[in-house]
């Protein structure tokens, strides 16, 4: 998805780095990477370290970093292509899937044309671009991080470690705690739900439906939060 933009902008001194926030590691992410066949660095982040360091709470998200390795744009929803779900008709009669697709259509995404134009403007004009923020503004416009959100990150990490070690009952308790502490962190939720509902060797379960392990699930939580709040706007 990012490959075309990267090829366009790479001669101008830009690199795209894609990072899969995937606790399932290469087993979960590799087939998607292979399909995209990127020429840019395409990395896998099992512990969601980059989310913690940059403040990502959902995907796709991005940050912009200038030549001096200074952030000029904090974490934001980054869409470079229109989702096929936005224009597709919602099929009736599929139960939960129908209900989910109705919510998916309500999700407010970054307009890909606006976003790609902003990236190009920054590449061309650097610090003179209105989309490149000064350091103080980058910090100010990064997400709030109260103590509870930082604790959620620690709980998620324990859950991820224990899940990977096969101690899944203990892992779920930590994932649940992370969800309670930071309910608007969709990465913590979607990752944990998906791990629990994806059978070994199967494709990742994108439905992320109700289980007896977690208090929430994708459909109910998106409805509760409001689909329009699923992504932070790029402004």
């Amino acid at each position: 998805m990012w490959q075309a933009l990267r090829e366009e902008l790479h001669p101008a001194g830009v690199e795209v780095v894609t990072v899969a926030l995937d606790s399932g590691g290469a087993e979960a992410a590799a087939k998607w990477i292979d399909r995209a066949a990127p020429r840019h660095p395409s990395l896998i982040d099992e512990s969601h370290l980059t989310a913690e360091l940059f403040g990502f709470v959902n995907v796709p998200s991005a940050v912009w970093i200038d030549e001096t390795q200074t952030l000029v744009r904090p974490a934001h929803a980054a869409h470079v292509r229109r989702s096929s779900f936005e224009d597709a008709e919602v099929p009736e009669g599929l139960g939960r899937i129908t209900e989910m697709l109705r919510e998916v259509k309500k999700i407010r995404r970054t307009d890909p044309e606006v976003y790609v134009a902003a990236v190009r403007d920054w590449v061309q004009r650097g610090a003179d671009s209105p989309y490149a923020l000064a350091p103080d503004e980058v910090v100010e416009r990064s997400r709030p991080r109260p103590p509870g959100h930082a604790e959620a990150a620690a709980c998620f990490e324990l859950g991820r470690w224990l899940w990977d070690a096969g101690r899944r009952q203990e892992a779920v308790a930590w994932f649940r705690q992370a969800h309670r502490l930071q309910p608007d962190n969709w990465a913590y939720k979607r990752q944990a739900w998906s791990l629990a509902t994806t059978a070994p060797g199967e494709d990742t379960d994108l439905i992320q439906g109700p289980t007896d392990l977690y208090e929430g699930n994708w459909l109910d939580d998106v409805r509760a939060a409001g689909a329009e709040n699923y992504y932070e706007p790029f402004d």
């Binding site: 360091l53 403040g55 796709p60 100010e140 324990l158 998906s194």
Partner: protein, 116 residues
Amino acid sequence: MILDSLEVLADRFLEGTGWDVKERGACRGELCVPLPEGSLDADGVVRVEPVAATLGMPLVHDADAGLWAVGPATLGGRALPTAAAPQVTLPDRDGNLFSTSSLAGRKVVLVAWASW
């Protein structure tokens, strides 16, 4: 950052938290926060408890697993305490490590995605 001990080498602490613990304090880019005496010993070992307390990092303990998890700093109350980009070193799909520090001099768009 997951730990099985509350003492950890400074290099590993930097990799896991983005904070470089030096004699003069904990630094991220040009932002340096003074630390209590004894936070870093002569062998480059960080005592995690005083550093975490100073930076507002939660330290969550799982006694059964014998592990601690250090959460991110809450200093300043924002996800980014400074605009200095933290360096990350991560594997690709074949396990080859790549460090974003190698991209100095280029503009970088770092994009998070997931299979889920």
